[in-house]
Symmetry: C2
Amino acid sequence: MSVLAWIIYDITEDKPRNKVAKLLKKSGLFRVQKSVFLGKLNSSRFDELGEQCLELINEKTDSVYLFPFCQEDFRNIKVLGQGFDKKLVNDEILAMFF
Amino acid sequence: MSVLAWIIYDITEDKPRNKVAKLLKKSGLFRVQKSVFLGKLNSSRFDELGEQCLELINEKTDSVYLFPFCQEDFRNIKVLGQGFDKKLVNDEILAMFF
């Protein structure tokens, strides 16, 4: 089974932040904002990604949210303002999800 | 019908940011991080809240994500590190949702 995943993080130090971004990219997710990734994952990969992020961050200062969506919930997401950074995400990518 | 809503924002100026926080609080949502709210809303209130946030923010600089979850998706959310700020959210509130 696959989920549509949004992952949002707030990581203080550059090094772990870059590592998390690299990990998410390598997992096939698309960067839609500086600290926001979006994409399709199978459920076990979603769980695994949570564990991998946990290993990279400092739990005392950083936070990561991993949000899984079924198709129906996904359709009802609202993104206002600069939620999609035009420099990072193009129409082709958006058309894959919306 | 009601949804479990997570709302995450990145708003540059203090004034609109405070107004959005006040609006979310008034809507019965709980603040779980500086810029993250969580709670139960009926679907029409969820839609309305999106419109109200849009009126308050600067669409050129700010972003707001309104994420709706069914019970099943909600159960699979992963919050790592400081996703729940202990100063803002107590066990009683968390027990309402998890």
